[in-house]
């Protein structure tokens, strides 16, 4: 049996000259294989940080996986540094056997992988024509998550029948807490320790976070350290002062599911288009299941056409859509709307304001987003007013 073809190392490297780009790259040896790849110097996609969040550059992305280092951030007391050897998850309250699990313990259980979106419930901005998808709703990203079903741990600790809620608590300096119905734990909640094939990133909850597919980003507690089971919710600050919103003369609370939504990510501000064929592209998703259909209008909402959906269409996942359009050079507006498998159609801002009153604007805003195409090919956001 001959040995493998690739020698590990040799004195050969010293013969090789490497260097900067030249006009004809076929005439110049490039740098050799490395331990970690890096982006082309010509490509620098970046998140846009504020004091409390950082937005995914949706307009720079193709398809639906968000590179881990571009995943949106929203945290309330910064990103903790957690030593995986010291990490433990406590489960207690209405359970037969209160237990603690190390990261190693968690990784030993039967595992599962799921690709789904996360979205901050406050993902909405408007007010200027010069906004990009990143500015408007960059607080959503998608990853392939791997971990264990939360139900696997519920079996292990023996959750008692009268437990109807659980509190999930983070190990960050906000000691973030949210109340979650136990039914979600038996349905599709996960504790995940991996993202896009590798260990979860610190900004997304290293070494382990809660994943509640389709539900408010904030509930997917990062740096998860404790689950307490009980028969009542807690009404923590993040489910009262925050993540509630005025609906006419009332305050609506416990809006867990993220409503169906879509956005065109090409062409958008500040790109320019040329007359001729344009493939309109974007992402659509619903916290309530699969995207059934995406419709695109190229005549300012007068008519709607069915876009193509990129397969596989996954439940509670960003779904890429594409619609081929011939632009004749006239001024117009383009927009997308999603219909999810429950039959819900993404509403206009006007519809939302009619349903909820004009004081809307904080959370769970999912209006149709339109873009103006000018005759010179420039593309601008269309900021609506109620």
């Amino acid at each position: 049996l001959a040995t493998a073809i690739l020698p590990v190392s040799s004195a050969f490297a010293k013969y090789v000259q490497v260097g900067a780009p030249i006009d004809d790259p076929t005439k110049k040896l490039g740098p050799g294989p490395g331990k970690l790849g890096k982006r082309s110097p010509f490509e620098q996609p970046l998140k846009k940080p504020s004091d409390i969040s950082s937005r995914t550059p949706l307009q720079d992305l193709y398809s639906t996986i968000t590179p881990a280092d571009l995943h949106f951030e929203r945290h309330h007391a910064g990103v903790p540094t957690i030593d995986p050897a010291k990490y433990e998850l406590l489960i207690h309250g209405m359970v037969d056997k209160p237990m603690k699990f190390t990261l190693h313990d968690l990784k030993r259980f039967p595992s599962v992988t799921r690709t789904c979106f996360l979205e901050c419930a406050g993902n909405f901005r408007s007010g200027s024509e010069q906004l990009t998808p990143q500015d408007i709703l960059g607080l959503t990203s998608q990853s392939e998550w791997t971990g264990i079903m939360l139900s696997t741990l519920l079996r292990e600790v023996g959750v008692q029948p009268k437990a109807s809620w659980f509190l999930a608590e983070g190990g960050d300096a906000a000691v973030m807490t949210r109340s979650i119905p136990v039914s979600k734990a038996w349905d599709d909640a996960m504790i995940v320790y991996a993202q896009n094939g590798e260990a979860i990133r610190p900004e997304q909850g290293y070494p382990a976070r809660l994943l509640l597919p389709g539900w408010e980003g904030n509930m997917n507690i990062k740096w998860l350290r404790r689950l307490e089971f009980a028969d009542e919710p807690w009404f923590t600050r993040e489910e009262t002062s925050k993540y509630t919103y005025p609906v006419k003369d009332r305050i609506r609370y416990f809006s867990f599911e993220m409503d169906a939504r879509s956005i065109i990510t090409y062409p958008v501000f500040p790109q320019k288009v040329e007359r001729g064929w344009i493939e309109i592209r974007g992402i659509a998703w619903s916290g309530r299941g699969k995207v059934l259909k995406v419709e695109v209008s190229t005549d300012a909402g007068k008519s709607w056409n069915t876009a193509n959906l990129q397969e596989p269409v996954l439940s509670k996942a960003h779904t890429y859509f594409r619609y081929l359009w011939y632009w004749n050079g006239d001024a117009t507006e383009i927009a997308s709307r999603v219909i999810d498998e429950t039959g819900y159609t993404q509403p206009t801002l006007k519809q939302l304001a009619e349903a909820r009153g004009t004081a809307i604007g904080g959370y769970h805003m999912n209006p149709i987003t339109a873009w103006q195409i000018r005759p010179d090919g420039s593309v601008l956001f269309y900021p609506e007013k109620v």
Partner: protein
């Protein structure tokens, strides 16, 4: 034996270990609206004001009316109650007083989270409830009185009952 059909799950995998009482106590810091979880101790509005000035005012303002986007990304802490001004503050937006204790104890002061003792937290809670004109300045706040405080916004809270489908709501 290693040849057995192992694709069926056992009742328990046996990974992890029993949590001790002490391990639970150390992390079990949550407070419920019915008062479950509140520690012993108590506080007054006057004590709360004194702590507030030293440990909180730098960020939230002497009057607790510092607004988001200026010095910090947080709503004002103090406002008139429902009848009055609009910011979503404790006074006109929070449904339960227990949440004030829970939140302050777990995460304030922002730059030194977890540094307050329980009496300080009771006092600060008393002070903020009083500044928001919800309790009188001489109320003592403890595990019995706090859950009994009725918050003006409570009656406005309506649970989301949407379940998908055609309706925009």
């Amino acid at each position: 034996s290693s040849l057995a059909d192992t694709t069926k799950w056992p009742p328990h995998f046996g990974f992890g270990h029993a949590a001790t009482e002490q391990e639970i106590k150390l992390w079990d810091i949550d407070i419920r609206p019915d008062g479950l979880g509140l520690p012993s101790g108590s506080g007054t509005v006057a004590q709360g004001k004194a702590v507030y000035v030293v440990k909180c005012a730098a960020c939230h303002g002497m009057e607790g009316r510092e607004l988001p986007g200026v010095k910090l990304p947080a709503p004002a802490l103090v406002s008139d109650t429902l009848a009055g001004s609009r910011p979503k503050t404790i006074g006109n937006y929070w449904p339960y007083a227990t949440t004030v204790f829970d939140y302050i104890r777990r995460t304030m002061p922002y730059n030194l989270p977890g540094s307050l003792n329980d009496n300080e937290v009771y006092s600060l809670t008393a002070y903020l409830l009083s500044a928001n004109q919800i309790i009188s300045p001489n109320t003592i706040i403890n595990a019995q009185t706090l859950p009994a405080v009725v918050m003006p916004a409570k009656k406005l809270y309506v649970r989301d009952d949407r379940k998908g489908g055609k309706e925009v709501k």
